[in-house]
Symmetry: C2
């Protein structure tokens, strides 16, 4: 019983913004780094957030923010996700299926398939929801406080951009949250997620 409660409370969350990834209408699975607005960056983020070599991190969620031609959020929840393989094309197949359906109202999370839900809205709504749910929020930023100098509570959420920097509007929304850095190099998003996981696994 104690383990169940513990598992319920501890959680890690990641949010990544795909500034040019189409929010609707689908895309070609054969050109994930081109015409789909660098969706490949988000797919690798899903992989590194949720998969270990032979299993899934059940304590972790990741929310993709698709901001090309509309705004849609897609949440992958490790606790209930089934039937998704860790390769880019497999994850892309799930994302494409979701983008062919209607965008739900802002703030309404509709389950699409097991462990995958979607909603209207952008990073502002995600930050608001996470705050209301007691999640402490950290913005990944090369100029932030080094990760190893921070301490983390039961629910920690990390916000990343894709290959582009945050927009001014996004930065304004995030300016009141702690920012954290992994060093001077601008690493790929999924690499940042891996390093955060490793740090939290060890501390």
């Amino acid at each position: 019983m104690w383990i169940l409660i513990w598992g319920e409370i501890l959680s890690r969350r990641f949010a990544i913004i795909g500034h040019e990834v189409p929010a609707k209408g689908g895309f070609s699975l054969n050109d994930l780094s081109g015409s789909s607005g660098r969706l490949d960056v988000l797919l690798r983020a899903v992989n590194s957030a949720l998969f270990i070599s032979h299993g899934i991190r059940e304590d972790t969620q990741i929310v993709l923010h698709l901001e090309g031609a509309g705004s849609r959020r897609i949440k992958f929840d490790g606790k209930s996700l089934k039937g998704v393989h860790p390769d880019e094309r497999s994850i892309a197949g799930q994302v494409r299926a979701v983008t062919k359906s209607q965008i739900p109202p802002v703030g309404v999370w509709q389950e699409y398939s097991r462990g995958i839900a979607h909603s209207g809205g952008s990073i502002g709504e995600t930050l608001q929801e996470w705050s209301q749910e007691g999640c402490e929020i950290f913005i990944m930023d090369a100029n932030g406080t080094p990760l190893e100098n921070l301490s983390f509570g039961e629910k920690s959420g990390f916000v990343l951009s894709d290959h582009k920097p945050f927009t001014n509007a996004e930065s304004d929304l995030m300016c009141n949250f702690e920012s954290t850095s992994l060093g001077e190099k601008w690493l790929q998003g999924h690499s940042c997620i891996t390093i955060v996981h490793h740090h939290l696994d060890r501390h």
Copy 2:
């Protein structure tokens, strides 16, 4: 001039073994996690070894070991690699093209395209070559010495398996090298590479 010499000497190397990845004859780009013997694991390793968000790690090489239906090694060298995108399908396209050509003799490295060379042979040959080139070798192993307790010289090489453990024959070849651990969880290969890079970047 000093920078050039420094860049020449410092280097990081990764070797990953794909126990079931076909060494010849090509494969479908649409099924990288299935009929190609979990090539997807190796592709993500190439991504995490060589790519940062907006550039390539010029000090890094990775050698893929394709051990399905023959033995071929494919080396990606960050110093000279051109025209490869970081997504799985793009890297897979390069690997597929190589696997359609004849396997060179063991120990003979033939350049296939800029920054990509291939050779016959298996991990035994790679370990021998690295040793001769003054590279200190570390085997990634959950039971090894914690990474943070080790020190690293100018040329460090790290050996990983794919989704399968090392075979007994491979373990025998590696038993005289230092082994290093990233913790108890069996992480994905590309995640291990990311954590090693991050550690070396910081120390």
